[in-house]
């Protein structure tokens, strides 16, 4: 194991911890995107470019986008539940 792998493993662990520790869903979605990018880098360094290519798009674009849309919808519903005119 070389230094680059050690650094990336530490960063991935830290990003995972941060994602869990943040309690606000929208910020969590951003944190999980950053975790996705770090994981992709780790896969690339571990000589798995095929997996890294999928992870970088799914982890940093598709998953946060779906989370954001779902969070937006939930907030909208909650706001609608309080206002009668919505």
């Amino acid at each position: 194991m070389n230094a680059l792998i050690a650094v990336l493993l530490t960063l991935v662990a830290a990003a995972g911890l941060v994602t869990v520790m943040i309690r606000e869903p929208a910020r969590q979605a951003i944190a999980v995107g950053i975790l996705g990018v770090l994981l992709a880098l780790l896969f690339f360094v571990l000589q798995a470019p095929d997996v890294a290519l999928s992870e970088i798009v799914v982890g940093s674009v598709a998953l946060p986008a779906m989370l954001f849309l779902a969070i937006a919808k939930i907030r909208q519903d909650e706001a609608g539940g309080e206002d009668e005119d919505r």
Binding site: M1, D50, V57, V61, A62, L69, Q76, D77, A79, G80
Partner: protein, 248 residues
Amino acid sequence: MRRARLIVGGLGLLMVTGGLVWAGTGLQHFGHVHSRYGTHLAHAAVPQRAATNSVVAIAFDYRGFDTLGEEFILFISVVGVMVLLRAIRGDADPRKGVVQAETRQASDSSRWLGAAIVGPLSVLAAYVIVHGQLTPGGGFQGGVVLMAALAFVGLGGEYLLLLRLRRSATLPELADAAGAAGFVVIGLGGLISAGVFFQNFLPKGSPGNLLSGGMIPLANISVGLEVAGAVLMVLSELLDQRLMGARR
């Protein structure tokens, strides 16, 4: 009660930790994996299948049947999401909400970024899909890149464009279904011509050429279509839900 839960939880934690440590001692050393089957396939991919990317040769040829199963896991989960979300939507027309979205347009910078990145990303997606048998990449990777390109259309504030794409031609549905069916047809081609499901039935070509690897490029294209269509369907359905306004 609390004491009993602590004891049960502690016992479980102890067993899981012990099991993990025990399992960890049996692992191979980091970075030194010796798999006879893996080594054999890595050496066989170029002479047998004319595919320089052995990962894709394994996924779409040697283990094509496994990939078929994985493809249908994605297909069925997307159908499940669609059934749920469309039942919630009912007969409501998402276009009614578009007026509301237009007044809340994205900022100029994100519109420009979206417009500038769609073209290059689409080209990259096509490149990754058709070069799957040569370099790292392939149908799944290219498919998600294609999906990302189209998602940037939404990010650029072009809700209307994305909606029209989905409403009029139901393009993602078509791509999803055609991609899933295409992969089965490729497998059946092997069954018909050679008597074995997913047996290669096309000329192999010479390694390193764009047209090489036999049926692998075709399989990559159909999986790319399926993946892009599937993820885009989920994203645009979620977008519709967002545009419909609050449910009462």
